[in-house]
Amino acid sequence: MGIFDRSSEGYESPPIEITVERGAVAFFAETIGETNPIHSDVDAARAAGHPDVMAPATYPVVLDMAAAKAGARKGIAPLLERINADMRVLLHGTETYDYHGPIFAGETVEIISRVKGFTDAKGGALEIAHLEMEVRHPDRGTLSVARRDLIHRLGGGK
């Protein structure tokens, strides 16, 4: 039997507000080796016509983590807890982003997380959780949608 709590299928979180922080965007950009200064230097971003530093391509994952923590402070269990993820045997299978608009520092966005469903693979040796995270701006609408497969290595099955 699997470890994921399959009764969480269909769950959608309430929108959780996250303010995109300039320093956090710059720290992330520098950590991943990003060299384009529009992601780390506000003057360079403004010179390129942007209101503030722009989030790099994989930044939605950071907003997702921030939303999980902000939600937990309000008593909203994070997705990883809801699906009963076991970090000892958890693997990241896939990650997919659809981009609909840029994300800038200084903006407050809403993060909505969803449990889309679960599947089994390799004769039950693996179980997969299918998750979705949406970044929504109050005026500009959906900015990005992330889809993520998380895998439990169950070791059984064979």
Binding site: T31, P56, A57, V62, M65, E95, T96, Y99
Partner: protein, 136 residues
Amino acid sequence: MTPQTAQVGDTLPPVTFGPITRTTLALYAGASGDHNPIHIDTDFAAKAGLDDVFAHGMLSMAQLGRLATDWAGIDRLRGLSSRFTAITPVGATVTCEGRIAERLEKEGEPLLRVVLTATIDDGTQTLRGEALISAA
């Protein structure tokens, strides 16, 4: 070569990142908010039956993102996806490469489908993904 002139089979300028140290992983954990101990705590990794911690897959996917946006500009990026096919050990250097696989059109916009790979020093492919880039 620009997104407007790129042909199927053309390759993008590669991006390398690393070697990935334990410090890199600690910084990525802090910067990303992904505090999963399997990437930063050797004691936890040992209890999980692993020899060592391993790098966040998303750290390598960030390099696929750099590859795509260094070449095309982030304004042109419509989609980015990755499958994590092998773990990336501490000490690895990641090399990311991209090749134009297809020209297509979606909702009236010309797009390039770019196949992306991340490979570590010993030749193991760790990520395989795609970028969708506007060719308008």
